[in-house]
């Protein structure tokens, strides 16, 4: 069930890319796609009726979900953050240079050069 949510979210992200004109919205859709992929990875690790993979007072013996996807997602999220931060700073520079974030106007400005 959760898989469908993840795929639809990827679809929404891609749709965002295809239709939006504003560059910042592209960045947003990129995050959507990243989160959707992360959701999908996590959902692959879930096992019905199993606990979070931490040995603690409440779960002393191993009755855990699959920990590996969660570890991978941890890394994937941080990569998403890194790309997002860089994208945002580049957008600031794009705005400084072209004065707009709209794709058409940038294309016309670039054509003039």
């Amino acid at each position: 069930m959760v898989y469908y949510i993840a795929f639809i979210l990827i679809g929404v992200g891609i749709y965002g890319f295809l239709t939006q004109k504003n560059l910042f919205k592209h960045l947003v859709s990129l995050t959507i796609v990243d989160t959707a992929v992360n959701i999908f990875i996590i959902s692959l690790g879930y096992i019905e009726g199993k606990e979070a993979p931490i040995y603690s007072k409440y779960t002393p013996i191993a009755n855990f979900v699959d920990p590996l996807p969660q570890a991978l997602v941890l890394t994937a999220i941080v990569i998403g953050v890194g790309t997002l931060a860089l994208g945002a700073s580049l957008l600031i520079k794009v705005y400084e240079k072209y004065g707009t974030l709209d794709v058409e106007q940038i294309a016309t400005k670039e054509a003039e050069e």
């Binding site: 796609v33 992929v37 999908f40």
Partner: protein, 452 residues
């Protein structure tokens, strides 16, 4: 021990973050140390990171293929580090990180680890792409890289589900049969963007035209070689050449449309960017012909192309007008462009000849026709630039003089191209070893999994 190749540049990067400008001086030192370490290492050893054996932990594989690829990549980085003029202020740290990530990409034996290193290379490439007032190009590259990263990650996860572990050798041995098409498709998308395949590599011209000579040089040579090596590693060693017929068609498409697009560019850098797209397409389609010979000649051509591109990009980015003052740069530019087209005395001729002979021996008449057609077009626009630069009269703008060390390096590479043209076995031996490493995946699996 092979982890040192990644760690030392990384350590230098981390230490020099507070004083970025000073990093320019230690860059050559770091590259030399990694080269020395590489020469000390013996080519077939696998090091498990953190002591955890193969399918569980991450494994760095140093077989003959990765050994020689590392050699090439480090030599390229050495040449670039010896030219501080072309490196922007404060970008040496980025170069260090890039060196670490390219070494990582070559060495890693784990699919998720290769995703991480691919992302490091990509992020470093975004920064380099931005180098001199080219934010829009860099941003487009970032978006494209981000999405391709997402697909690559999906491919990795599907591989994990399919085989249970993330290790290349493990995947190649026991991936469930249904998963291979989907994994190959997703990974093809992930790497396709980086390895300049036709519809996916939209970022190349804008990024290479970023104004600073560093971007095209490092992205065009070092990173391209690493990506091509990764492509070979995954699609040949891991997927046993499963997806290559699709890649062949895309390769042909890239060659033809890359050359045609280059025909109309009026800026030298953009034309050369398209030429590197076309050459990448040629290498990919040669590799995807399948078989040991094909891979050997594919990488041989890649080596020739990289040495020619190194010279062409430096000159195109620094002095994009006439050669009257700096003759040495002019001569090396001409030699590199002749080698690219495939005139007899130069290296390019050898590799094109061997590729044609190979294609014919495999009864594939499409590839030679496309290659020859592309070479005709390539001859048209490269020679146009050659003449324009040699005979242009507009000596109006600033008389940019190339500094002596850049000239020296240009000349050395140009003479190397001629030397390879006459005695090709230096590059051929390298290509042979790379092809050996990639093709016998049984040795790879036993080497990594230790005959589990």
């Amino acid at each position: 021990m092979s982890a040192l190749l990644i760690i030392i540049p990384l350590l230098a990067g981390f230490l020099f973050i507070p004083f970025k400008e000073k990093a320019k001086y230690i860059l050559p030192l770091v590259v030399i140390t990694t080269l020395i370490i590489l020469l000390l290492l013996s080519p077939d050893q696998t090091n498990a990171m953190g002591g955890w054996k193969a399918p569980f932990g991450i494994v760095l594989v140093l077989d003959s293929a990765s050994y020689y690829s590392l050699l090439v990549v480090n030599i390229v980085f050495l040449l670039i580090s010896l030219m501080p003029q072309i490196v922007e202020k404060g970008y040496s740290v980025v170069l260090l990180i890039l060196l670490a990530s390219t070494n990582g990409l070559v060495l890693t034996g784990d699919i998720f680890n290769s995703f991480v290193f691919l992302e490091i290379t990509a992020v470093a490439a975004y920064i380099i792409a931005f180098s001199r007032k080219n934010p829009y190009g860099a941003f487009k590259y970032l978006i494209l890289g981000g999405i391709s990263g997402a697909f690559y990650l999906l491919g990795a996860i599907y591989a994990y589900i399919g085989t249970g572990s993330l290790n290349f050798a493990d995947i190649s041995v026991n991936i469930k049969e249904g998963f291979l098409p989907i994994v190959a498709l997703l990974i093809f998308i992930g790497i396709g963007v980086e390895s300049k395949i036709f519809p996916l590599a939209g970022w190349v011209p804008d990024v290479y035209d970023s104004g600073s000579p560093l971007t095209p040089v490092i992205l065009g040579t070092g990173v391209t070689f690493t990506i091509m090596y990764l492509f070979g590693r995954i699609f040949i060693t891991v997927f046993h050449g499963y997806f290559l017929d699709v890649v062949f068609i895309f390769g042909l498409l890239t060659i033809v449309l890359g050359e045609l697009a280059a025909l109309r560019q009026n800026k030298l850098i953009k034309a050369l960017a398209f030429s590197s797209i076309a050459q990448a397409g040629l290498v990919l389609s040669t590799i995807s012909l399948g078989g040991y010979e094909a891979i050997k000649f594919g990488y041989f051509h890649l080596l020739n192309d990289i040495s020619a591109k190194l010279v062409l990009f430096i000159i195109a980015a620094t002095i994009a007008h006439n050669f009257t003052e700096n003759k040495i740069a002019g001569v090396s530019f001409s030699i590199a462009s002749f080698s690219l087209i495939g005139f007899p005395l130069f290296a390019g001729f050898r590799s094109k000849l061997l590729i044609l002979q190979l294609a014919f021996s495999k009864d594939n008449y499409l590839l030679p026709a496309v290659v020859l057609f592309a070479t005709v077009i390539e001859a048209a626009y490269i020679l146009k630039w050659n003449i324009k630069l040699w005979h242009s009269t507009n000596t109006g703008e600033e008389k940019q003089k190339i500094s002596w060390n850049v000239n020296l390096i240009l000349l050395i590479v140009a003479l190397l191209i001629i030397f390879i043209g006459i005695f090709p076995d230096l590059y051929l031996k390298m290509a042979q070893n790379i092809a050996d490493g990639l093709t016998n995946y049984r040795a790879y699996v036993t080497n990594v999994l230790g005959g589990m």
